[in-house]
Each structure stands twice: as C-alpha cells, then as structure tokens.
Amino acid sequence: MKKKIGNPSTPEILHNPGRRTAIKVGLATVPTVAVASMVPWSLAEAKAIVSPPTTPFLEPMPITPVVPQRLLTDPAFAHPPTEIPNRAINPATGIPYEGRGEPHQFRSMNPPQYFFAQHFGAVPAVSIHPNLQPQINFWGANLGGADLSVDKPMTPMPTIVTRYQTGANTACVVRRFNDLPTGVPSGGFGKNQISIHLHNYHSAPESDGGPCDPTLGGLSEDPAAQGRFYFPGQYYDYYYNMKRAGFTNPATPDGDVRETLGTLWYHDHREGHTAENVYKGIAGFHLVFNEYDTGDENTGLRLPSYPEYDIPMIFTDLLIDPNTGQAAFDLFDTDGHLGDKYLVNGKVQPYFNVSKRRYRLRLLDMGPSRFYELFLTNPDEPAQSIPFWRIGNDGNLMAAPVLVNSVKLAVAERGDVIVDFDKITAPGGAAPGATRLWLENRLIQTNGRGPDNILDNPATPANVLVEFRIGAVAPDASQDPATITSFAPITLPPIETPIVTRNFAFNRSGGQWTVNGVPMSCDVVRFTVQRNTTERWIYSNSSGGWSHPIHNHFVEGRIVSRNGVPTPTNSVEYGRKDVVWLGENETVEYIVKVTDYRGVYPMHCHNVVHEDHAMMLLFAVQDVGDTNPNP
C-alpha cells in the first residue's frame, strides 16, 4: 500500500513512466513534499556546505612509502603467525589475540616466506593543504613498528609490494594490528573495527577481508567469534600465497600466468561501516610484480621502473566543513558522499615534478562515491588533445596498450597508464613546448548517486587533481608502448562456456539499495558457484539516474557485452576486470571463472555508501553449486 506525504493533488507523477522527466516536472511545478521545504533539518540543506577555498599546486605530491619486510624475530611476531588462528585469550584485553576465525587455506602448499606488519591507528594531525587546518579525523596504518609515536599511522596507507615467481615460494603473511582509538570517533564517523580487503586478489575467504560469513553457524552471530572484523587490541594474519589462479591444478602449481595480477589495493570492509572508514583513510596500494612485469625497466616487459618512474596515485574527494575545518561525513546520507576537494596521495591538488621521459601512473579511485573521466590538459593550450597509453585495467595488464585520450574510473577501478612527457612536449608532439600538464577530471557529478554524463570544459582549475611540472630530459630504458603489441605471456585466458546464467538487478527498494530487490543480510548466502566452473552473470541497472560500480570478491570476469554490444577487441574493457561500471539503464554480460578456494565472498556496489546501505550479497564457492538464475 502506497501513501503520499503532502499534496495529494498530484497522483499523476507517480505513474509517469519517464522517471527523470517526472523528477524535473516535480521540482519545477509540484511541491511533492510540501512540508520538507519548510523544515530546517533537511539533509539537502545539511549537505549544502562548501569547503574553504584553496590555492592549487602549492605542495608536491607525496609518494607513499613501502612496508618493509620483517623477520620472524621482530616483536610484531612475538606470537608466531600460525595456520590456525591464535584464539588464545589475551589477558590484557580479555578477547582473543587474533580476530581470524578460520585456518589459512592451502597454506602447507606454500608456507609463508615473507612477513609484513602494520599497526592501524589514528593519524596524528596532518596537513593536506597549507590553506586548511591540520586534519584530525583520519585513520591509517604504519610501517609495522610497535611504537606508533615513532612509526606513525598514515593515509593513504603505505604500499605493500609482493611478487609472483614461477618455481619459487614467495608466499607472505601480513599481520595487521588494530590499534584504532576507542571512544567517540574523531569527527563523529568511523567504526574502530576493521576487516582489511585485498581488493582484486585471489584470496581464500579468511584472508580476503570480507564483511561476514554465516556458514560458521552460531559463531558467526557472535561479534567476538564472527572471524572477519576485529577489535582494538587484536591482530589478524592475512596469508597471500602469491600464486596465480589455478594453482590447485596439479599441472600448474604456480597458477596460470594469464591470471597475473598487478595493481591491487587494500581497504577496510567492516560490514555496514566501510564508507566512513575508507573516507577516514583506510586505503592503500598493494602492488604485485612478476617475472615479466618486473618493476625494472631494463628487464622483462621493460615497463617504467618502480618506484622512480612507476607512480601509484590514489584519488579521493573530501568535503571540509568550514565551521570545523575538518573532513566531514554524514552517516545519515544514503545516496553517496561527494567532496569538493580532490586529494592525490593525501594532498589537495598537489604538483608533481617529472622528467621528460615515460612514467607509469597507477590511477586509483578510492571513492567514496565519485566517478572520474581523466584527461591530460595543457593549461596554456586547453584545446590540445593529449593522448597517452592505457596498459592496465583494474589489477590487470590488458592484451596490449591502447592509445586513449581519457581514462574513466568508477570507485575502486584502477587504470595503469604510460605517459611519455618527452614525446608529448617535443616538437611535433601533442603539446609541444608545454612545461606543465594537468591531470583533470572533466566528468561532472552533482550528487552521490552517479555522474551526470556531461563533460566540463578543459582546463577548469577546480577539476584538476595534479599538475605535472615537466623538467629536463632523463634517461629512459623503458619500452615505448607504441612498439608493444602484446604483454605475452600475460595474455587473455580463453573464455570458457558458462554452465549457469544468473541475473543481478541493481536497484532501489524500500529506501535502500538492493540486489534483485533484496538488501544485504549477513545471514544469507544467496547462491553457490561450483568450484572450477565458469558462469555468466548479467548485471542490470534499470533505475534511471544512478550508477553503480559492481565488484565481486575473489573472481575476476570478462565484460563480453555491454547493452548487447560485444566488447570490441580494441576497447579498454577488453580484458580481465573486477569492477564493472554499471551506468544508467545499462546491462552488462560478465563471465567469471571460479577456481581454487572454497568459501563465502561478497558481491556489492563499490559506491561504498550504497554498499553500506545494503547493495551487497553473499555468495559461496563449493564443490557442488546451484543454478539459481535470480539469486
């Protein structure tokens, strides 16, 4: 039964099939909710704050440090990292030492050889821009030292670097300590319980960092025993075997080289509180090198060397409350959170000094809710079109480099690009003689629900993320992407025939975000995929005006068609993906292959506000699956 608040004389708009038109009509002529306009408490009004003005390009872009390896003799490992979780009670806290609930899967195949630690805690007051007050609301992680006053938590969090190495065991454990503050969270947002997801990695559920898993029965209903998120005073050992997907196939103990992953990130996934915790800063890069993408431009595929010329760049947008000078977040806003200050690696609109040579830029949209279309612009000649090379999409190298004029990124998507600052600025280049270039987001977005699909004019200062300041020519041993025709042997695996087709409608009902009309429940596993099989998933978004970046844990997929049109082989979407940008009224056909691990994983919208407000489901991977077409 539906009832309307306010003016009952406008029933026709409820039946108007053209939803967006109806909204416009409603706003223009009909006081649909007559009371709301008189109420000073409306969320619409509360959101209408504007951050204080800032002058762009005053500070250099920081590069996040790399988490060092530690020996097992390090104090961080006073309790050895065991396959079985350390559930002994810590007398100091009264709860188990470790938050993990299950043993590491397949650990005996590749016992961990490398060890990292991180302490999660409050970030001491930190400047994000000289015109703004030091920020006191952030949380982050440190480099693993036990004394947080010396080894201070930072955001973006430090980069973790690991390797695949055929024929060798490069497995690792990352021990994460929750040392987040108790009491009222700074700024009034943030939940001091964390589950750290290694986004895009081929993880077993116990090391995936998901939200929850009901298959542990009654234990899963007990916060102290649910085995995913953990509390201040606890640690959690994440085990990554550093083998590609397919490693349980006896013929390929190192996995399938075509399943190589490279540009990953890690972030909080606390059920129902991911948005506020990621916004608080719990996000960082995890890079994986390998025998071909070596991190050294003199070897393998000869991509620009890490870390000098291979630059991770993490984007977020903050809203700074002018009354407090601090990053603000509204826990009661379910549409999505937009900021009006772009940060790159923790600074508002920084500059970055580059040499005239090739750089690999790893671009990451950490959200919470913004979609980007990024262009390189010469601010002194805005009409110039400046192409560059896209070499990766999400965690994966593509089949071959693609020359592009822009990069589109939804939340959690990554784009690896190569920019040749020498060629671009050389005589005859796209921006001859340019001394600076802007990386700018021209995609207009006015609310948290999705972009307006309109591009702003080039060289608009407010749209700029970072200014590249171009210096002298520097030696460059990297290979020109124009001459790379393939990243073989990292090629695309063949698409196998799906044994099941399932439909997922991402929509809104009952004031919440839903999948197939049903909101997230930690109590229900909605479908089960048979291990070592391939499935076809049809994602649809019939609700006009909203966009959703859909992410599933554990499995990658191939976008084989979008709105019925097969993905062209020269498209940047022609490759493996773990996030699908599902735009207004779109339908995407996505083929996934599921190997190795068993257990429970989520699928969800990665607009983290939508995710927290129930646009998520749990699925399982087991030896016997189901064929439910509408889970």
Partner: protein
C-alpha cells in the same frame, strides 16, 4: 549561530574574571569540534512527540540522549512492509535476549494525523509487540516531519520520497553517546536484524 557566539563571548568574559569558568568557556568554544554536539544539532531536533501511552516526550532529551536505540518508521494502516518489519524486530528482540534490555526500540508514525496513541496501541496489540523497551510515537505532522528529515529517512528523489512506504523498511541502529550509527534492513529477518544489532553494539 549568533546567539551561540554571543554566549561563548559572555562565558569567555566570565572566565577571565572567575577561574572556575574557564572549563565552561573551553567547552563552549570547542563545541564546534565536538562530534556528538555537531551530530545532535544536525540530526536530532529536540521536538515534542507523543508516545503510545499518551506521554509527551522530547526527541533528544528523552528518547536519544545517552541511549542505545533502534529506530524505524511505520504507519498503522501499512499492511506489508511495516508488518514484516515489525514482526522481524519483534523476533530480533527475542533473539537478542538480555542485550535487548539495554536497547530502546522506537517506531515513529509516518501518518501522525491518523495514528493517535490509541491507534498505535491497537497496532501494538495486533502485532503482540509488548511494550517493554519498545515505544511507538506520534506527534504533530510538522514535528514528525522534522524527525524524519533529521534521522535521514528521506529519499533524494522527490517521487520516491513522497511514497511513505519507502521509509518503512530501514532501521537506524545507534549509540548516541558514542556517535556510532549503523543501519539494518527491516525486511530481512529477525535473525539477520539481531545479528546486525549485535555487530553494531559490539
């Protein structure tokens, strides 16, 4: 805003004269930085409401301040979503056992002109809710609307917002003192809601 500033100036002057006032002045000056105070100002209009027993209460002072709460919106003639949510909350309270005793459950009417205390009591009787720790509330339309807006049971799309059933399945789960606010979905199940509430108050 002006009043607050004036007040803090007065406190400041007082503090300069009387040392004992210094603490008060500091509190007032840092009010803008106090997350709980900010949250209260933004989201909790302290308006009068009427309980199902006819008692007059204030939203913040009586219902929210210092409390763990689970909040939903409903209306008595709503037959599907509200009934399901009400039944699920009821089951969740049973499953929560002793934990439920520390939690105040509030159900606000979306149709206050029709839902007087007697209508709310009839709804509670029909659903065999039992009144301990679970209060149904109504009020003037203006005040109820302010509460709805403040607590964020709103949709950006005005058409969706005008459909009051769209506000009837979400639950806010919060600890006011700790500025900890999560949400649950009323239509899932009693067990799912109970689990969510345990997680929120862990």
């Amino acid at each position: 805003m002006m009043n607050i500033e004036k007040r803090s100036l007065v406190f400041g002057a007082t503090a300069a004269i009387f040392g004992a006032g210094a603490m008060l002045a500091a509190t007032s000056a840092s009010a803008a930085q106090n997350p709980r105070e900010q949250f209260r100002k933004k989201h909790f209009p302290n308006v009068p409401l009427i309980t199902h027993t006819g008692e007059s209460v204030l939203l913040y002072d009586d219902l929210l301040k210092d409390k763990k709460v689970v909040i939903n919106f409903m209306y008595t003639v709503c037959s599907d979503t509200c009934s399901l949510t009400t039944q699920n909350i009821k089951q969740a309270r049973v499953l929560l056992g002793d934990l439920a005793k520390d939690i105040n459950f509030y159900s606000f009417s979306l149709t206050p002109l029709e839902d007087d205390p007697a209508a709310l009591r009839a709804y509670m009787d029909m659903h065999e809710v039992g009144s301990t720790g679970w209060t149904f509330l109504t009020g003037t339309p203006d005040n109820i609307e302010r509460v709805r807006q403040g607590l964020g049971f709103v949709q950006q799309d005005p058409i969706e917002d005008a459909d009051i059933s769209s506000h009837a399945s979400m639950l806010r789960v919060g600890n006011e003192k700790m500025v900890s606010w999560g949400h649950a979905s009323g239509t899932t199940s009693g067990r799912s809601i109970a689990r969510k509430i345990r997680f929120e108050f862990s």
